[in-house]
């Protein structure tokens, strides 16, 4: 009896589970096909570029490919004293190929980054080879060592050996103002050259303050939006959304017109006698300008999640709080405010993440003290063409955002986020 009831059959005698799967399979395939374009799009535009960025940021195969025989011979070298004859021989034959292809310059540049003084001795060695001064039947080690005294210095050979692995974390260290010292340990750069750490901190600081300003200004607006009668709230909503419909550049440029020293805001201050005409405050090309412009631009991202959460809070809750004896402030603080936390979380997270990667606005109105990490990334992309460093910093920024997201999840819980 019990064995009969175990498996339920359809009227055709097929087990119910099998029949159910079969019936749903078609729907599943349909559903998958519907999302497939998006999946593909996401992969091409998101997963693939990030993977590409990552490989680029750790890629260090150039020297590895240029000096294959050298590194093969170096495997047996302990790296403490000058390398044996085989290493020199390997290096010589690799180098000759480079000279024939005229790519030895790149090697010089790369090795010079590892240790200063490489460029000149590479050039010197290249000239010797071109003049056929090296006799291949004699000890190559002796002849190379004679070319320049640095070739007799073990530190230079150690530097070559350090470039052997095809992957390196050097770019990430550089992003944190650190580098691999000669002995392979991690060292700090000199204090007066630590620019990146300042930029990271400044980026965090500006993002934090912009988030706070957006919150302080957005909360009342969102509350007003949620409680006003429809005809006024629609108008206000348009005012909030208006910045979205204007080009970012136009908005930033208009802030420049407003905030510059001969600008409208300063003119107004002078007119009402707040400041003297000859001591107009600088409100642009510094942090003030960045704060003002970024707060205005990011405000909608704070207002909209807050608004959508506040819209769902019944006005009778505040009334209940008051009728039960809470002063308006107590009713707000104990009843209304806790219910808006999901919206606050969503808005702050959104604004902070957008602010941390902001680029055009700080570049235009920020001046020197408004330069952020994203400007530095752009600089390396466009000017120094050090794409691997730009990629490394981009990934550091991304992982920073993920860390913030993780902390947020631990504190508030992502389930509590309400975007609408």
């Amino acid at each position: 009896m019990s064995s009969e009831t175990k498996q339920i059959l359809t009227t055709d005698g097929i087990p119910l589970e099998v029949s159910l799967k079969k019936a749903e399979k078609k729907n599943k395939i349909k559903a998958f096909l519907l999302v497939a374009p998006l999946l593909l799009f996401l992969f091409i535009t998101y997963v693939f570029p990030i993977g590409e960025m990552f490989t680029r940021s750790v890629d260090d195969r150039m020297v590895t490919n240029m000096l294959p025989k050298t590194f093969e011979a170096m495997e047996k070298w302990d790296g403490k004293e000058l390398p044996p004859e085989e290493v020199f021989a390997g290096f010589y034959s690799d180098f000759k190929v480079l000279v024939e292809n005229q790519t030895q310059g790149k090697l010089g540049q790369r090795l010079n980054k590892e240790k200063n003084g490489f460029n000149s001795i590479i050039k010197k060695l290249m000239r010797q080879i071109k003049r056929n001064k090296i006799n291949e039947s004699q000890s190559i080690k002796e002849q190379i060592m004679k070319v320049h005294k640095r070739w007799r210095d073990v530190e230079y050979w150690q530097a070559i050996k350090r470039t052997a692995p095809p992957y390196t974390m050097a770019k990430y260290l550089k992003g944190m103002d650190m580098y691999f010292a000669a002995d392979g340990s991690i060292a700090q750069v000199d204090e007066d050259r630590r620019i990146h750490r300042i930029l990271w901190l400044r980026t965090l600081e500006i993002a934090l303050f912009v988030t706070i300003f957006c919150f302080l200004m957005g909360y009342p607006i969102a509350h007003l939006l949620a409680t006003l009668p429809m005809k006024y709230s629609n108008l206000l909503m348009i005012c909030v959304l208006l910045p979205f419909w204007t080009s970012l550049l136009v908005r930033t440029a208009s802030w420049m017109i407003l905030l510059q020293q001969q600008g409208i805001v300063n003119d107004f201050f002078v007119m009402i006698g707040l400041v003297a005409d000859d001591s107009r405050p600088e409100m642009m090309y510094n942090k003030v300008g960045t704060y003002v412009a970024m707060t205005q631009i990011l405000l909608p991202f704070m207002v909209l999640p807050l608004y959508s959460v506040m819209k769902t809070i019944s006005p009778s809750l505040m009334r209940a709080g008051k009728s039960l004896g809470g002063t308006p402030f107590v009713a707000f603080w104990k009843v209304y405010f806790p219910l808006t936390i999901p919206g606050i979380g969503a808005g702050c997270l959104l604004v902070f993440i957008l602010a941390i990667g902001y680029y055009i606005t700080p570049a235009l109105v920020g001046g020197a003290s408004g330069t952020l990490i994203s400007n530095q990334i752009a600089y390396h992309m466009k000017s120094t063409l050090d794409w691997s460093f730009a990629s490394a910093m981009g990934l550091m920024l991304l992982s920073g955002v993920l860390v913030i997201y993780w902390i947020y999840n631990k504190l508030v819980g992502v389930d509590n986020i309400k975007l609408g």
Partner: protein, 361 residues
């Protein structure tokens, strides 16, 4: 125990939202201490506005509201000490049941032990002990309702306002909650002002009912009087079922009058008619008209049965009587009158004092 008959007093209160239309007109209402009074009326009749003015969320445009002899129009809601149960319960969704109940006590800076005692007492009143740590979202509608009632009572307010608190519950639950609220009121003797548009709710629970229409109290009296002796057509129509005849007073002497209909003349109890020639609407409760009456009645007419609907304990019979095709009769279900058939001619009689000649509709 002397009770203040004017514990809550609306004194000539007007309310307008837009400066053009009066939502509440010249409201004069006294509520006695410990009374259960219901404001009953169709939507838009101004009853909720009155409640909101009493709670302090709206200010009267004119006139004063007094609580225990003190004018409260300028006192903000949180200082009035009035408990309120809202239509959608308005429980704080981020607080447990305990915290919801403790809220009014905490803002009054009552000590922890005292709070525990009061919360426990209030919860046992609505038989929800053991639910302290639940969140409102984990409770059923009826339980949430009870928490809301307990929260409105936990800080011992002098007056509790209830704004259609049972509107969202299903029929059975609503009925049992009606009795529960009534019993709580009886046991603790708090003054309750209750707003509803459901007449059976009002009749079940209240000491007195104020029927609102068009911003005015149409009638303020006990449930029985409201049903038996409506003072105007609106109340007669709004409370219970009602048969009407529109006609003209042809003769009047004392309490009694003759009303001329297009094709007959009926004897009525003159309530709001004063003189001959006045237009009037005569109101008659369905259960007061009898089929084939055995005793003598001063109104006796014959009509044709249009429809017979079986209701179990009684049968509703729709008759075309004196030109009114909507005349309803409620016939108790006894074996003698199961013979009712559609298009049958029957005699219908009623006593003149049950037919009330009211203002014309």
């Amino acid at each position: 125990m002397s009770k203040n008959p004017e514990f809550v007093k609306f004194d000539k209160v007007d309310k307008s939202y837009d400066g053009k239309v009066l939502v509440v007109k010249d409201l004069q209402l006294d509520i006695a201490e410990g009374e259960f009074i219901t404001m009953l009326g169709p939507s838009g009749s101004g009853k909720t506005t009155c409640l909101m003015m009493l709670a302090g969320f709206e200010t009267p445009t004119n006139g004063e509201i007094l609580l225990d002899g003190n004018i409260i129009s300028n006192i903000p809601p949180h200082k009035r000490g009035i408990g309120m149960v809202f239509q959608n319960y308005a429980l704080f969704p981020h607080m447990t049941v305990y915290e919801n109940l403790a809220f009014p006590l905490r803002v009054r800076k009552i000590e922890k032990d005292e709070i525990d005692k009061k919360v426990d007492k209030a919860l046992s009143m609505v038989s929800l002990n053991g639910f302290e740590t639940r969140m409102p979202g984990q409770l059923s509608g009826g339980q949430q309702q009870r928490v809301a009632v307990a929260r409105a009572l936990v800080f011992d307010p002098a007056v509790v306002l209830m704004d259609e608190p049972l509107g969202a519950l299903d029929k059975n639950l609503r009925e049992s909650m009606q009795y529960e609220i009534k019993h709580i009121h009886e046991s603790i003797g708090v003054t309750v002002v209750y707003v509803t548009h459901d007449q059976s709710e009002a009749l079940t629970m209240s000491n007195r009912i104020a029927v609102f229409n068009d911003g005015k109290v149409q009638q303020l009296s006990s449930p029985a009087e409201l049903y038996e002796k409506p003072v105007n057509s609106f109340v007669a129509e709004f409370i219970g079922e009602n048969n009407t005849f529109n006609g003209e007073v042809s003769d009047i002497s004392g309490d009694e009058c003759k009303v001329k209909l297009p094709n007959a003349e009926i004897l009525s109890n003159a309530i709001s008619v004063k003189s001959k020639g006045e237009k009037t609407t005569v109101s008659l409760r369905p259960e007061r008209a009898l089929i084939e009456p055995t005793e003598k009645m001063d109104n006796l007419f014959s009509g044709k049965i249009e429809e017979v609907i079986y209701h179990g304990d009684h049968t509703r019979v729709r008759v075309n009587l004196l030109g009114n095709p909507e005349f309803i009769l409620k016939v108790p279900n006894s074996t003698s009158n199961l013979e009712l058939k559609v298009s049958q001619e029957i005699k219908i009689g009623w006593n003149s004092y049950d037919a009330r000649a009211l203002d014309p509709k």
